[in-house]
């Protein structure tokens, strides 16, 4: 079934293959050829696969989106005026802008970046840093193969490359803004982030589209956090309301590394995030997520934390607010290898349903092969607590306002975890836009 559709993409591939970056690199050509073969054989993931059972992406197969070639001047670029861009761009960051799957030097701003730090488009990086990429590209996704990863590897047109050398502490965050300006296109980007030993960096991935365009984003980000390094990665997904989004983030943490991920999944008609972390000895990871669904949105979050070695800890909390006929999915797997004694892991997923037709599917999974570990998980799916509503009413707040206040408070707990002020405010704006109830005040939050 899916192979037929996949072959349509595969046929198209021949026409664009020669335009993809890294043509001169034999290892990359092999990697792409291998990925193409896998994709041709299996197509996009199907709900028959356990990890995709709640999310059906067959609509993407039917649609046949086209890549935007780098050579064609971007016809719709005029819609990306600086003002519009500013509504997503954060102040006081180094900024990388990818438009329709291609790095835009014009809109990017890397002034003052320390010389030892590399931040550039992936196509440039394949020319300038091929050895480094040969080592890293594809390494973090080794064990998590599915159709979207193969598709991304074969098709990617550009992306973000970041290399922060050992002991370098980046003072400002880097924001990479993935913008899609057209309908019927796809933006396939491959991103590699390397934070060497003892280095510290904060990176924000923002995804946005113009108007109500129907397009596909498929971004794969591979992250390598070196020994005793510290990395915070934020994802702000506010794609257009008819967009399809796949964003996979695959992280390898070395010994003593610390990694925090914040996933704000707000946009798109159908959106799926993978956040898969491999933990070495005594490393720490924190995964925070907030998904807001309205209308008929389908938002899927798939997390996997793999404790490979002893003494590592993981903390995960995902919250969903689902209204109208929206559907939220949370699949959280924690795997503790036989060798990973003294693992300390907590996973939590809480869902708030605002309408009778909204749906939350939640599936926490613990797979523990070690015998001396502390692992816990909790899940809730429910509506607003009537006791809380009465308490607020008894404090002079009318019922509707009380409901709004509690809904926002529920979501805001995750927004408040953002440690970058400008991003915090942007995310808050996005939360407010998505729940435009009358009388909602910013001061609540």
């Amino acid at each position: 079934m899916s192979t037929f559709s996949a072959s349509r993409y595969t046929t198209e591939y021949q026409a664009i293959a020669a335009t993809l970056p890294g043509q001169a690199l034999v290892w990359l050509k092999e990697l792409r050829a291998d990925a193409l073969e896998k994709f041709s054989a299996h197509g996009f993931p199907s709900p028959r696969e356990e990890e995709w059972r709640y999310t059906n992406v067959s609509v993407i197969e039917k649609k046949l989106f086209a890549t935007v070639s780098r050579e064609t001047p971007l016809p719709k670029l005029q819609v990306v005026d600086a003002e519009w861009l500013k509504s997503f761009q954060l102040e006081d960051t180094w900024s990388v802008v990818l438009i329709d799957g291609h790095f835009s030097a014009e809109f990017s701003d890397l002034d003052g970046l320390p010389e030892t730090v590399s931040v550039m488009g992936m196509a440039d990086a394949l020319t300038k840093q091929p050895e480094l990429l040969e080592t890293y590209l594809g390494r973090a996704v080794n064990n998590t193969e599915h159709g979207f990863i193969a598709f991304n590897t074969a098709w990617f047109t550009d992306g973000l490359f970041v290399h922060v050398p050992a002991k370098q502490v980046l003072e400002k965050p880097i924001q990479v803004l993935h913008i899609v300006t057209q309908s019927d296109v796809m933006a396939i980007t491959r991103n590699v982030i390397i934070i060497d030993d003892m280095a510290e960096a904060r990176i924000i991935e923002s995804f946005a589209g113009v108007g109500d365009n129907n397009y596909l984003t498929a971004a794969v980000t591979e992250v390598f956090v070196g020994r005793n390094a510290d990395h915070s990665l934020y994802k702000m997904q506010s794609e257009s309301e008819k967009a399809y989004h796949f964003g996979g983030i695959y992280i390898k943490q070395a010994q003593d590394a610390r990694f925090t991920h914040h996933n704000f999944a707000f946009g798109g008609l159908l959106a799926r995030s993978d956040i898969h972390v491999d933990l070495d000895q005594a490393s720490e990871c924190e995964l925070n997520g907030l998904y807001l669904g309205v209308n008929r949105q389908h938002i899927d979050n798939h997390t996997r934390i793999y404790h490979l070695k002893p003494h590592a800890s993981s903390r995960e909390i995902y919250k969903g607010v689902l209204g109208d006929r929206a559907r939220g999915v949370f699949q959280g797997r924690v795997i503790v290898a036989e060798d990973a004694q003294k693992t300390d892991s907590q996973m939590n997923n809480r869902n708030l349903l605002l309408s009778n037709e909204a749906e939350a599917d939640t599936k926490p999974q613990l797979e523990i092969y070690a015998d001396d570990v502390k692992c816990g998980h909790g899940v809730t799916v429910g509506q607003l607590d009537e006791k809380s509503i009465f308490y607020l009413q008894s404090r002079c707040i009318d019922e509707e306002t009380a409901r709004n206040m509690l809904t926002f408070a529920f979501a805001n707990e995750m927004v408040d975890k953002i440690k970058i002020k400008s991003l915090h405010d942007k995310v808050l704006e996005q939360v407010l836009v998505r729940f435009p109830q009358e009388g909602v005040e910013k001061s609540w939050l």
Binding site: E386, F390, Q393, S394, R395, L406, A409, F410, W444
Partner: protein
């Protein structure tokens, strides 16, 4: 201020209050005492507007208005305040925000403009000191992670700031150690005024050592079986409730 006449209240089909009569005048403190299951908390809840209760007969007039018909938030804006037996944790809503929202709702109800930010802060900080609370509590989520004593103190803080006309204290002393009880009582006593009334629902006489009531009523099996002055509380401490319950059975 508050006139309760022949009040009958059911939970489901079960009668809980069976004809309560009570007159509370401005400035008075009334203690409602009684054994578990006597209907004390139901009385507190019905006055504050909690759902789940059906008034089957009788009336409650508050400043000559029908209280039962008012939504809980309207009662609150009209000056009825319930200090909860079990204050609810509201994660994500800060104490200070709730205080401000509540105060402004009352002011709006009274046709006044919103409170000035500086005046508000001065007011709040003064009351925080009165209740010997840490200012940090203001910026924490409402009751979240508070100890039992901190929650009760927080209720009194809200009361002190909102300046209600009718204060209903539901088992405020339960779960408090003696130091916390003293602080809470001082907070309540500082609010006593000729135009403010209190209804203290309590199982224990101890609270009345610190907040002296004008009247004590004993509730048993959904009715007030005895009313008297503060000395009645002492008598109850000595004899327990059983003599009154059996009195009623005999009657």
């Amino acid at each position: 201020m508050l006139t309760i006449k022949n009040l009958h209240v059911n939970v489901g089909d079960k009668p809980i209050l069976k004809g309560i009569n009570l007159q509370i005048n401005p400035g008075e403190i009334h203690a409602i005492m009684g054994p578990n299951g006597s209907g004390k908390s139901t009385l507190a809840h019905i006055l504050s507007g909690k759902s789940g209760y059906t008034v089957t007969a009788g009336s409650v007039a508050y400043n000559n208005k029908d209280l039962i018909d008012m939504a809980p938030e309207i009662r609150a804006r009209e000056g009825v305040f319930l200090a909860f037996q079990y204050p609810v944790e509201i994660p994500g809503v800060s104490n200070i925000y709730l205080l401000k929202a509540a105060l402004n709702a009352i002011r709006k109800h009274q046709g006044l403009s919103e409170v000035d930010a500086m005046d508000f802060l001065t007011l709040v900080k003064g009351k925080v000191r009165l209740l010997e609370m840490d200012e940090k509590f203001l910026y924490r989520a409402v009751n979240e992670g508070f100890s039992g004593g901190e929650k009760k103190r927080n209720e009194i803080l809200q009361m002190a700031i909102l300046e209600p006309r009718l204060c209903i204290l539901d088992e405020t002393d339960s779960g408090l150690d003696i130091d916390a009880l003293k602080i809470v009582s001082e907070g309540v006593n500082s609010l006593r005024s000729p135009d403010r009334s209190f209804v203290m629902v309590t199982h224990y006489q101890r609270l009345l050592d610190y907040i002296k009531p004008d009247f004590v009523h004993v509730l048993a099996n959904g009715q007030i079986v005895k009313s008297g002055g503060p000395e009645l509380a002492l008598e109850l401490e000595e004899k327990g409730y059983s003599w009154l319950e059996s009195d009623q059975v005999a009657a």
